[in-house]
């Protein structure tokens, strides 16, 4: 067996892959948070609950309507995104003129309500979601066996993250979004319906979380608290990447997943804290995060 730094190769690569997968979820979730924070100035604590709703939406579509995994990848984000649009219109939009703290409190409360509702309806033990047939099994990469579904998650997450980045950085819609982040009243005075743009941005960020939720359904059991496991780390990722930075979220999401995975191999006791340790160090060196804009 190959040994690397005294660690069996398959173990090392196995944890690396696990780290990449967690990193994929960190990246997708922190990306949505970054987009929402940039545009709405809201720290969306309900993001984990919306991620969980994406998972449940996929489960419900399968078990109540018979709609399978691949259509759910489109449908579930759409449905949850619409719920996000309704939430933004009804509640969140009332907070824009107030301090950050109110948005944080409101969305935190929302996440408790949403999770409570699902716990009432479905218990907290978790529901199984089968990996689609075509993504079953594993391939031998020579140095390790890789479950096909896990490889698919990493690739799908990368594609979605880069597509989001491209939309924001390279299209005229993205230019309008960036401009509205900088000076919303002026963009509106040019004739752009900024409130509608804000609503759609929130819906888009929510849809990203729900997409991650569908990808997660076959890996983690579908349960009301599944978002909680991620959300704390994801906030650290957003801070490390730089609040509101798109590329920062993607890179630090994947990067921290890998760092976490490697820590599990070399010093397992620290694996739960390493992300926050990195956060402390980064903030000491760069207070605005790795890709944060300087003032």
């Amino acid at each position: 067996m190959i040994m690397i730094f005294g660690i069996p190769g398959p173990l090392l690569f196995g944890q690396l892959l696990l780290g990449l997968i967690n990193g994929a979820f960190y990246a997708m979730l922190s990306l949505g948070l970054a987009v929402i924070f940039g545009m709405l100035n809201i720290i969306n604590f309900a993001h984990g609950a919306l991620f969980m709703m994406g998972s449940f939406a996929a489960w419900m579509l399968l078990n109540y309507v018979g709609i399978g995994y691949f259509p759910s990848l489109i449908l579930a984000p759409l449905l949850v995104g619409i719920i996000g649009v309704v939430l933004e219109k009804l509640v969140i939009s009332r907070l824009y003129k107030l301090d950050h703290l109110y948005g944080l409190l409101l969305t935190f409360g929302m996440s408790l309500v949403i999770e409570g509702l699902f716990r009432n309806g479905y218990g907290s033990s978790g529901l199984p979601y089968r990996i689609p047939d075509i993504l079953q099994g594993a391939v031998n990469l020579g140095f390790m066996y890789m479950p096909i579904y896990r490889g698919w998650v990493v690739v799908a997450a990368l594609v979605v993250c880069l597509a989001t980045w491209a939309i924001i950085e390279k299209t005229s819609l993205g230019a309008t979004l960036r401009a509205a982040t900088e000076n919303a009243p002026l963009v509106q005075a040019f004739g752009v319906n900024v409130p509608r743009l804000v609503t759609l941005t929130f819906g888009g960020g929510v849809a990203l979380a729900a997409f991650a939720g569908v990808l997660a359904a076959p890996i983690y059991s579908v349960n009301p608290n599944m978002g909680d496991n991620f959300i704390n780390t994801v906030f650290a990722v957003v801070v490390i990447g730089g609040m509101g930075s798109i590329m920062g979220s993607i890179i630090s999401g994947f990067g921290l997943g890998v760092i976490e995975g490697l820590t599990k191999v070399f010093y397992p006791q620290a694996s739960a804290t390493v992300v926050f340790l990195v956060m402390v160090i980064i903030l000491m060196v760069k207070p605005r995060g790795l890709f944060g804009k300087t003032a």
Binding site: S172, E182, N183, L186, Q188, A189, F190, G191, V194
Partner: protein
């Protein structure tokens, strides 16, 4: 084209405009002169719907706009080049230029804007709009609203802080867009510059219009003007 009567505006508790009355006819260039704090910029922002609270009447092409949101006012055909230019640092020069949506046919093409401002063409690939010099940013701020097809332009101190040679170029541009049929309401501190481009001048004091001077009478009104502006 633009008829304003009894316009009041507030920022929070402070009452800034106290019944502004003015009129801009189609094809005219009209300036708003006045000391700092007289309410010139607030008048511009009030026309555009950019103040928290406004009352009175702002009619554009006969239609009342006082209850409209600023994006609806833009679609009615009024475009603003704001104080301090409002160039976006997270957008490239080209993105800044193409940011304001086209609301009607008849605007200038990007090529025509580059002909008007050759510097902008050279700097088109600059990644951050705010990396341009002050003069270039001003040209960008004017150029981007010429694209939209709006025929009523609000220019808020386009010459502020710029070198004389750039001020002359801005002056040529304003005369050129007047010839193309645009209507301009211009805020100016510098009445010598205003005299080279405008048909009429309104003088503001303490949130009201206190005088209107046709451009041909500007020379003979110098004493009065010096008193108004305190120069």
């Amino acid at each position: 084209m633009l008829e304003i009567s009894g316009l009041n505006a507030w920022y929070g508790e402070s009452h800034i405009l106290h019944g502004v009355d003015l009129e801009v006819r189609e094809g005219e260039v009209v300036t708003l002169l006045g000391r700092n704090g007289a309410g010139k910029t607030t008048t511009m922002k009030s026309i555009m719907g950019l103040v928290p609270r406004r009352e009175g009447s702002v009619k554009f092409r006969g239609g009342e706009t006082i209850r409209m949101m600023s994006n609806q006012i833009a679609h009615a055909g009024i475009a603003i080049c704001p104080e301090e230019r409002g160039i976006f640092g997270t957008l490239s020069v080209t993105e800044n230029l193409k940011l304001p949506p086209v609301i009607a046919p008849g605007g200038l093409s990007v090529d025509e804007i580059y002909t008007l401002f050759p510097n902008l063409k050279e700097r088109a690939r600059t990644a951050h709009g705010t990396k341009l010099s002050g003069g270039e940013q001003q040209m960008l701020a004017i150029g981007r609203i010429l694209r939209t097809g709006s025929k009523m332009l609000l220019l808020d101190e386009p010459t502020e802080g710029l070198a004389p040679v750039i001020v002359q170029q801005i002056g040529r541009t304003i005369r050129e867009i007047k010839n193309r049929g645009f209507t301009v309401l211009l805020v100016e501190q510098n009445f010598r510059f205003a005299a080279t481009v405008a048909d009429r001048h309104y003088v503001m004091e303490h949130g009201k219009i206190v005088d209107m001077i046709p451009n041909q009478l500007l020379e003979s009104s110098m004493d009065k003007l010096h008193e108004y502006l305190g120069v």
